[in-house]
């Protein structure tokens, strides 16, 4: 049976290194299978998060050959196997151990977003919403909170700016702002508290999203336009001029 060499990060906050393991290759194997194999045989105490093994829970994000991906959805046959495969934890978050990082910051950020405040029900007790209108935000609801986008966004990764809530939570705001039933106005906090202005549309977040959500085009840009529209910001006006996009009509 063919063997593949893995270089897996082992260590904690204080120290760590890439350790080499050899794993027999089987048909259809994904990176998470290899990690489990290593865990079951050579390194019982290897720390890794996972749950569903089918790309549905967003637990198993890591940097595979330097690229942020879900381990359970990365098949070995998409990687060059003549070279060792490196598996490292997400870099943006504080390390806990091995492949596990401390993502608690994300949960704190989420608490700052006010929940939906729906309009009253119709006389017959139902809420009416058209498929066309919900479909647009259903796309954002596909988010599995893997935080890979939060991991790559340079605003936080390189500039360490933590009052910016990041792409994951901008799309959550977008679902609320575009929700047909919501009655809150959220634009001021998007600008002042969540600091949407920091995003300069590099689209790195969209590139890594395993759910293929149009984070920038479908969520962040329309939000930016609404914020700009609401506050008549001359910079935003210039930005609109440069990108050639019109303000969203459906505010």
């Amino acid at each position: 049976m063919k063997e593949v060499t893995f270089r897996v990060f082992r260590g904690d906050k204080e120290k760590g290194e890439l350790k080499e393991y050899k794993v027999p290759l089987s048909e259809g194997m994904v990176v998470l299978d290899a990690i489990h194999e290593i865990q079951a045989t050579e390194a019982n105490d290897l720390a890794v998060r996972w749950n569903c093994k089918a790309g549905k829970c967003g637990s198993c994000g890591a940097e595979i050959n330097g690229k942020p991906r879900l381990m359970c959805m990365t098949r070995m046959d998409v990687l060059p196997m003549d070279k060792p495969v490196t598996v490292e934890p997400m870099k943006r978050f504080p390390l806990v151990k091995d492949l596990v990082t401390d993502v608690s910051w994300n949960f704190e950020v989420n608490k700052r977003i006010r929940p939906l405040k729906p309009q009253p029900r119709q006389a017959d007790g139902t809420h009416r919403m058209m498929q066309m209108d919900v479909e647009r935000i259903q796309e954002f609801h596909k988010c599995i909170e893997c935080f890979l986008c939060q991991n790559v966004c340079h605003v936080m990764r390189d500039h360490k700016i933590t009052d910016f809530i990041g792409p994951r939570f901008l799309i959550r705001c977008a679902t609320l702002v575009m929700h047909p039933l919501d009655t809150e106005n959220r634009l001021r906090e998007l600008k002042d508290d969540f600091r949407i202005g920091y995003c300069n549309i590099t689209k790195c977040c969209t590139e890594v999203c395993p759910e293929e959500i149009g984070i920038t085009d479908n969520a962040i840009i329309p939000l930016k336009e609404r914020v700009a529209g609401a506050f008549y910001d001359p910079l935003a006006w210039l930005w609109r001029l440069l990108t050639g996009k019109k303000a969203d009509q459906r505010t």
Binding site: V48, W50, N51, S59, V96, V103, M129, V134
Partner: protein, 594 residues
């Protein structure tokens, strides 16, 4: 002893749909609530649910009502469901679904803008509110985003090892932080077990690592009764190839949306396996089944939508007759029934899953599928109204609790179960906690004892690898206590489980307590052994076949066993069983079953 201590009126163990809904309710009643989960918030097994949640909203077909839902659930459960629970469930389901919408859930819509409903196995009318094929994600995120604003204290990545008692009533729980390995004590007047299922007892399962039967085992060790543990659901359509994904679920929604099952001769074999009980409502020709797909209201449902136990057994029978697919299952074909656009819109995550993991385009080719362990109908015995167990202060809801689904669960009934009985557990646990006047006490001796059990894997002189024992347990259960059971194998299973218990006691873990997966497995193993024993013992003594329990030596359902439920309980350090008469259904409900 100097451990970290937290004090709450109500402690909810488990942050899946049931636990979150319970915590929200208890908190709304003004008591202090703690919520503990093994994984991060929003990752519980509920997130994986695909097809939808059943409620007789009557939006897609207005002939539906709670009585029909009641009927289908009792019949689907092969008459073993607790009638009172099913009645409450069917009546309260629509309100609970509407409430989720109020909290932000975005279900697929009908043309006039109401919540759309889809067909599923065993449901007479289209009944499942859904969001494509990722309904569980919608449920958990909605509850999570609502719940974080309700003042609940959330303890993530914390595993409960044992319940703590004050005499014979609940006093809290003892656990460890997965990250640091440090111990933590929760003092609580009431505890709700919402810990989910037991799928990890078997090798091929749709369940995640978390599903090790912790709640059932914790309850058992605290002296509570378990009910119906012989009823384990093997879902007929799990992925079977490649090996890496064996067991991963293929939603029943594929069949609800028109998918058909074929053998290696290309025959649509389900027409040959229609049980008498369902003959009157099942199409018996391809022609009629096609009319149903075209929405002819007079056409009966295709046989692919028979209940899961029936379909799983049929696939197995085809394989044994030499008509199985190359890797020992059947072909599930939707490509020949629906357009690629339709499939991608209605089943996006199935499309994605097969494309990425199976190298297969389901809009062009049939999938290869076979049975996978999916759900346990049995669980903690609870009062139908209050969700209370027979230990004062201990409640349970969701998959951890037993009774609602009888011998077989209908698809879509679990998600609804979580919110209906999650809410009730939260309510009654809060009321119980408020009514307790005296304070609770936890003895030092008890804490010392639990602590000893928890660190044993580091100190013992044993040599067993926890992963190996874990795998051997799964093989043993699959071989001897799986889809089709027989007396001699079940007896062997119980003997083998004793040996595995001895090996588990000698498990040795390397490294320290800091996020040590080996240690986590070693402690989960204890629970897995308890529930495996409960399953096998209950299965041995039900000498008939019914729903999720199939005996090769007793292939028929019998009147004698229809009258009894199996109860398992600890007595003097040993697991004991008994058959108890099932409570009699009132006449007016019996009439609904016709």
């Amino acid at each position: 002893m100097s451990h970290e201590i937290h004090e709450h009126d109500v402690l909810v163990i488990g942050a899946g749909g049931a636990g979150l809904r319970a915590a929200i309710e208890a908190s709304a009643l003004g008591v202090s609530v703690g919520l503990v989960s093994k994984s991060l918030l929003g990752k519980a097994h509920t997130v994986m649910a695909e097809g939808g949640m059943a409620a007789s909203l009557g939006n897609t077909d207005d002939r539906d009502d709670w009585k029909m839902h009641f009927r289908d659930t009792i019949r689907g459960g092969k008459m073993m469901g607790n009638w009172k629970m099913v009645e409450i469930f069917a009546k309260e389901a629509p309100d609970r679904v509407n409430e989720l919408e109020e909290w932000g859930a975005l279900f697929d819509r009908t043309e006039d803008g109401r919540i759309a409903q889809r067909n599923f196995g065993g449901h007479r009318y289209p009944r499942l509110a859904h969001v494509g094929d990722r309904t569980g994600l919608e449920m958990i995120r909605t509850l999570q985003n609502h719940g974080i604003h309700q003042g609940v204290d959330i303890y993530m990545e914390c595993t409960i090892v044992e319940l703590l008692m004050d005499g014979d009533r609940i006093a809290g729980a003892f656990g460890y932080w997965r990250e640091s390995g440090k111990f933590v004590i929760f003092k609580a007047k009431a505890v709700i077990l919402a810990t989910g299922g037991v799928g990890k007892c078997y090798r091929f399962t749709s369940n995640s690592w978390e599903c090790t039967g912790d709640g059932q085992a914790l309850a058992y060790r605290a002296g509570a009764s378990l009910v119906g543990m012989e009823f384990v659901q093997f879902h007929p359509t799990g992925m079977i190839w490649p090996p890496s994904v064996r067991g991963v679920l293929v939603t029943e929604g594929v069949r609800g949306d028109g998918g058909i099952l074929k053998n290696n001769l290309g025959e649509r074999f389900m027409f040959n396996y229609i049980p008498e009980m369902f003959a009157a409502e099942t199409a018996d020709t391809v022609e009629e089944a096609s009319r149903w797909l075209e929405k002819d209201p007079n056409a009966r449902r295709p046989p692919e939508l028979l209940t899961r136990d029936v379909v799983a057994r049929s696939i197995r029978a085809e394989r044994l007759a030499g008509r199985g697919s190359p890797h020992g299952g059947a072909f599930l074909d939707i490509a020949s029934q629906r357009s690629p656009e339709y499939i991608k819109r209605k089943l996006p995550s199935m499309y994605h899953q097969f494309k990425h993991l199976g190298n297969l385009d389901i809009t062009k080719e049939p999938m290869e599928v076979g049975p996978t362990c999916h759900y346990i109908m049995g669980g903690v015995l609870v009062d139908p109204e209050t969700a209370g167990s027979d230990v004062p202060g201990l409640y349970s809801a969701g998959e951890a609790a037993g009774g609602l689904h009888g011998a077989n669960r209908l698809g879509g009934n679990s998600l609804t179960d979580l919110i209906v009985f999650g809410r009730r557990a939260g309510q009654y646990a809060a009321e119980y906690a408020k009514s307790l006047k005296s304070s609770i006490k936890i003895s030092d001796a008890q804490l010392k004892q639990v602590e000893k059990v928890a660190i044993a894997p580091f100190e013992d002189s044993g040599k067993e690898n926890p992963y190996q024992v874990f795998q051997d347990l799964q093989s043993c259960m699959e071989l001897n206590s799986g889809i089709v059971r027989v007396k001699s194998e079940l007896e062997t299973c119980l003997v083998e489980l004793e040996k595995l218990k001895e090996r588990a006691a000698k498990v040795k873990v390397e490294g320290n307590r800091h996020f040590n997966s080996g240690w986590h497995y070693a402690l989960d193993l204890r629970n897995l052994l308890t529930v495996s024993e409960a399953i096998s013992l209950s299965a041995l003594h039900r000498e008939e076949s019914r729903g999720g329990h199939t005996r090769e030596d007793f292939p028929d359902s019998t009147e004698k066993f229809e009258k009894v439920i199996t109860i398992v309980k600890e007595k003097g350090g040993k697991m004991t069983w008994k058959h108890e008469p099932k409570s009699e259904m009132p006449e007016e409900l019996k009439e609904l079953l016709a």
